[in-house]
Symmetry: C2
Subunit: 343 residues, 2 copies
Amino acid sequence: MSNRVILSVDAMGGDFGPRVTLPACTSVLKKHPALEILLVGEADLLNKQLGRMRLSDDIKARLTIVASGDSVQMDDKPSAAIRHRQDSSMAVAVKMVAEGSAAACVSAGNTGALMAFGRQHLKMQPGIDRPAIIASVPTMQGHCYMLDLGANVDCSEEHLLQFAIMGSVMFEALEGVPARIGLLNIGEEAIKGNEQVRLAHELIRQQKGLNYIGFIEGNDVFAGKADVIVCDGFVGNIALKSSEGLAKLISRKVRRSFTRNLYRRLLAFLAYPVLRELQEQMDPSRRNGATLLGLQGIVMKSHGGANKNCFAYALEQAIIEVEQNVPSKISERLASYLTSKDQ
Amino acid sequence: MSNRVILSVDAMGGDFGPRVTLPACTSVLKKHPALEILLVGEADLLNKQLGRMRLSDDIKARLTIVASGDSVQMDDKPSAAIRHRQDSSMAVAVKMVAEGSAAACVSAGNTGALMAFGRQHLKMQPGIDRPAIIASVPTMQGHCYMLDLGANVDCSEEHLLQFAIMGSVMFEALEGVPARIGLLNIGEEAIKGNEQVRLAHELIRQQKGLNYIGFIEGNDVFAGKADVIVCDGFVGNIALKSSEGLAKLISRKVRRSFTRNLYRRLLAFLAYPVLRELQEQMDPSRRNGATLLGLQGIVMKSHGGANKNCFAYALEQAIIEVEQNVPSKISERLASYLTSKDQ
């Protein structure tokens, strides 16, 4: 990055709070000399923890603590968060984007509350009804993007079309080539699937400017057949989490298999670099950072259980989206679609 | 198995037809001396292929060829199969169960057509509206069962309750202990999820005689938190197939990683037994054989792409369900539920 970028970070969010968010922030600050971070959270606690970290003056100069009140809890309902947590680290971090003091915010906190604050303070893009959660998943060739991953249950076909448009623009902005859009379904033939996907199929097919390649089955998600996979948030969340669950199971079975006896332990020792490389490549949660797409601003959601490296990855993703100016590219494209619709 | 069991097998179904089904049948016949198989398909072709296999007289005596007409194609719609394929190997195999000449049938053909023939010839159990596809998936401790895996899209809460009851009975029949039932959802709190699962949650919770443990998230599917996981067929199909896709991707990455250079090839050679064992344990499609539950008879669906061992596994599963008498156990339990409902 060349120009100055300011991120607001919910320092209290996630399973580990400042223990993870602070070291992640300082490591990303070291890497990006033009980055500044507004660290939102309990000022005393953050000051104390930062004090222990022996930071250079340069890092200290680019790290500002912003005091906030009670944190959002993981079991807070979105409506309760809106009513009672407006001075939480999460809400304040989002508001800083709305006010223009930060270019993007990053939080590992409660997803529902983050969406609610995003809608309240940043507003939706014109033409988009609801935010969608988009994230990348690994494929044989690299990765693809999938949305929605749980922000919306009971989507209409219009919502799925909006996801297709937003996903397409985001992919093109980040990867520099047009996206092949696939619609997640249980069979490749148009007769299969439920009412929702059949209607969405027709709608997306008719939308000009989209490179729509039709239905994608579950087994093709990780095969790289599409660049952007569109689905209802209920289905997307379960598909991704099931796969993460299986990856975790495989990883445990590998560990158990390689520790059963002395010979196998020796093998594991010899094969450690390979096994580690594989684990890193394959964990779907390693590429951490899901974007709340459709808002007039950049909000990045980190896994709640993210460790330092994972949270740092989410920060880096936010920087890339700031540099690529994703929300304004989406709004431009939406404006052109809306115009062509009216004609 | 001690008593005589007769299976009808759709010899023409699946991606490979008799090339896979015949060797699978003969290998299972060798293992089970009390098994008989009615092999349904093109008589000339089957006779020719069996002739090449040099079978013992004992095996020949327990293998009967039943001639059929045109096969069901993978892209036949269920309605077209019902109209035009009544003398297909699949339809004939199902009818033999309906007539009582076989105790169960096994097919690797078109799922929609198999369900349609099942409903037409075997009829539904009283109290069940639609068949559901149930199969086992691996967990850390062993395996659990998941249904529906694609027979039904747009399920009502009543359907999900029926799945819970059927799955519970099947698990108890096969595993000998009561099943912990989980409902697949995107969050553990009752406020999350779509309309369908919220309504089903209430209904299943109130059903006496079920050991319902509440919502299960995607990442818990393979964690063994529940013994039977209930979901809509659209969601279940996508969750399972996505996970299979990820398992395949991991397996390819492992192969690529272990063949990159000579040292790694040597490691792979040394670790071959471990890697092979892992691959066998982890492939969700290896435990082949999905039951069409809710019919008055046993219909086992094999993966279309099953190889000999996988198809043999599906045959073995059918034998177990015959021995455990799963459909009549389900109908008994349903009768007791229906009675308690009326009181």
